[in-house]
């Protein structure tokens, strides 16, 4: 980057040189009322719009699109902006810090407290599809599940904590992502064994050359398989 770079600087730029990017989904009322206030209170947006440079005198909004929309509504000619780096990480963190995007946590590694706070956030959102779930039950079940191996969040629907496919699961997908570990060759983790069906467990017993499994019930199969070989 040249020393003449504007990255990090606060700039007063023409609105028509800036592309609004993804725009905001804020309600019309908030835009109108904020625009009026901005005009009455000095016409200066003290909280800057975050933009990136996409060409000479050409910019695109990556964060605080709401402020851009308000300035546009107010009919300002110029707007205060901060020029940020042009890369995906910068765009992402700007949107998250501006409160325009919900950050996600890694459910493969998340702590119990993190899971609890994520679920609480979802349950308490207005009109949440998760209103009816028991927070403590869902937290315990998800925390105790072998989630480090999950390849998809659909596994949550098997935990019997009233989270089904569709709206409820979609909400969870807003806050969780996974970076699954490969399944170990020999599975001894009881949580993981318990998540499988009896038929799958029997197949595994056969593979491991264990005999006398055919009449066992699932809990007994789990007990048998959790003993590590030798």
């Amino acid at each position: 980057m040249s020393s003449l770079s504007d990255v990090g600087n606060l700039m007063h730029l023409y609105l028509d040189e800036i592309d609004p990017g993804k725009g905001t989904d804020a309600p019309e009322f908030l835009i109108l009322a904020s625009a009026q206030l901005l005009l009455q209170k000095g016409e200066r947006n003290w909280i800057p719009v975050i933009i990136k440079e996409i060409g000479e005198d050409k910019y695109e909004v990556i964060g605080n699109s709401f402020i851009y929309a308000v300035a546009e509504e107010a009919g300002l000619e110029k707007i205060w902006c901060i020029i940020a780096e042009d890369d995906e990480d910068t765009a992402k963190i700007s949107r998250v810090l501006a409160g325009e995007e919900i950050p996600k946590i890694n459910l493969s590694k998340a702590s119990r407290d993190e899971i609890a706070s994520a679920l609480q956030y979802l349950v308490e959102r207005p009109g949440s599809a998760l209103k009816g779930i028991k927070l403590s039950v869902a937290t315990n079940r998800i925390d105790e599940a072998p989630r480090q191996y999950w390849k998809s969040l659909n596994e949550i629907t098997k935990l019997k904590c009233a989270i089904s496919r569709g709206k409820k699961l979609d909400m969870l997908k807003q806050v969780f992502y996974l970076t699954p570990q490969p399944l170990p060759d020999v599975i001894t983790d009881p949580a993981l064994l318990n998540s499988m069906t009896a038929a799958e467990l029997k197949k595994m017993a056969k593979k491991r050359d264990i005999t006398g499994y055919s009449k066992l019930k699932k809990p007994e199969l789990v007990d048998l398989l959790r003993q590590s070989p030798d």
């Binding site: 609480q120 028991k134 403590s136 039950v137 937290t139 315990n140 925390d143 809990p219």
Partner: protein
């Protein structure tokens, strides 16, 4: 360079000349009065860790306490095993040390003391420090040891002011504590108000901790109600507990009764131990006599001997501030305070306990315990309006406590910080099967899946890491 003031009282001088000063005394002496953190580190902390018997292989500086979060604690330490040098593996620290400069005031009433203790607590609860049992904070003027048990962090010593006379003694006491870790956490379940679910909480918490593979002892220290003992279908003690409390030669383990339950289907059994309520304490002995027989530390001394046999010792205490609750609180490391959001008195009484009874007990006991755990709402149906009025009540309780110089915010709203108000209070939801379980003499968590999840949640939120 500022002037270096030697902190030596004149009458000590001859003494020092005869006996060579210890390395810690020398370190303290050489430390400038306003030494900043790097100086305290270089001149004092190194000797301190050495005196606590941590060698070069046992100490890691600037230890990252959890993944993906900024600040590191100044030192983490663990005695290395032959093939497991802490310096190399960096896993399972035992002790965390947070240093400050002498320019930062760590006397117990100062704001910096509170924030540093909070900082150390945050480190101790970090994901990489599950094994940590001790946290030490010092600026060379003051020093305090904290103990971590699961998710509970409580003082293990007072915040001692140090000087040349006492530094060696203090450090050897800290060393002794670190080298003899205590197994059990003693928790008293207390609220001055009756009917908030103390006994239900105690029994179910004990039951669920047992399911989580913890060894648990429950003490029914409410001899007038005896609810806990009878809710488990255990016979009352007839003077034996009283004897054990009175007589230092009687081992408390003689009065312990096991409560065992076997699942008919899986044949698996769970067991926790109970010290039942004593009839004698209820009617036969009057309070004057009891006070003569039972010192404030009576229960503490009895239970302290059982510490090595349990992970948790839970005490059910009566809803008043008299002889039994006083001794229950004295015996405890931490106090769990159930409240009901629709009962203003339970909230006011919780505040009273935290503001008055617990500090009184701390003063008497002198080691910084017991501490108050954040209050929680216990099992009542909630409506939005009720929750709002509960919060209004809490708000005014906090406000009036502040006027008396006591900040209760953390006790009601543990997640709240200056930059973000978080008004969530932990809650064990209303559930009929919990209340009804008493009739069957079996704790609800052993009879009902949902009750189990609710109390597991309580156990994991407050105790088990």
């Amino acid at each position: 360079m500022g002037t270096i003031r030697l902190r030596i009282e004149p009458f000590l001088l001859p003494n020092l000349m005869i006996m060579t000063a210890s390395s810690l005394q020398t370190a303290l002496q050489s430390l400038p009065e306003n030494a900043q953190e790097p100086i305290v580190d270089k001149l004092f902390a190194q000797h301190l860790l050495e005196k606590l018997s941590f060698g070069h292989n046992d100490i890691y500086p600037q230890y990252q306490t959890q993944s993906g979060r900024g600040l590191a604690v100044d030192y983490a330490a663990r005695k290395s095993q032959e093939k497991d040098l802490f310096l190399h593996t960096k896993t399972n620290p035992d002790l965390l040390v947070e240093l400050k400069g002498r320019d930062i005031n760590l006397s117990p009433d100062s704001a910096k003391y509170t924030s540093t203790a909070k900082q150390l607590r945050g480190y101790l609860l970090g994901g990489y420090c599950k094994s940590a049992r001790w946290g030490l904070m010092t600026n060379a003027n003051h020093i305090q040891l904290f103990r971590k048990h699961g998710k509970v962090v409580h003082p293990a010593t007072p915040c001692w002011p140090t000087n040349l006379d006492n530094i060696d003694e203090i450090v050897s006491r800290i060393k002794k504590k670190i080298e003899n870790p205590l197994r059990a956490l003693i928790v008293a379940v207390y609220n001055n108000k009756g009917g908030v679910g103390k006994t239900t909480t105690t029994v179910n918490l004990a039951a669920v901790l047992t399911l989580l593979n913890k060894k648990v002892l429950v003490v029914d220290f409410d001899p007038n109600q005896q609810d806990l003992t009878s809710s488990l279908g255990i016979p009352l003690s007839n003077g034996k507990v009283y004897e054990a409390l009175k007589n230092r030669d009687i081992d408390f383990s003689e009065v312990v009764v096991p409560y065992k339950l076997t699942d008919k289907r899986t044949q698996k059994s769970v067991q926790f131990d109970v010290i039942p309520a004593d009839k004698m304490l209820a009617y036969e002995v009057d309070e004057v006599k009891l006070r003569q027989d039972l010192k404030p530390s009576a229960l503490f001394k009895g239970l302290d001997k059982l510490r090595s046999q349990y992970d948790y010792i839970l005490i059910d205490s009566p809803p008043n501030w008299r002889i039994f609750s006083q001794r229950a609180l004295y015996a405890a490391d931490a106090i769990l305070v159930p409240t009901k959001h629709n009962n203003l008195f339970s909230l006011e009484n919780a505040a009273m306990a935290i503001q008055k009874f617990i500090p009184e007990t701390q003063e008497l006991k002198g080691d910084g315990t017991p501490i108050a755990l954040p209050v929680f709402f216990n099992g009542e149906k909630t409506t939005h309006a009720q929750v709002r009025s509960a919060h209004e009540a809490i708000h005014s309780i906090i406000k009036s406590a502040k006027k008396q110089g006591c900040d209760l915010t953390a006790c009601f709203y543990p997640k709240s910080v200056k930059s973000r108000q978080d008004l969530h209070i932990f809650e064990v939801p209303a559930y009929a099967n919990i209340a009804n379980a008493a009739f069957s003499r079996i704790p609800a968590v052993y009879r009902d899946k949902t009750a189990r999840e609710y109390y597991k949640n309580l156990a994991k939120e407050y105790f088990v890491q």
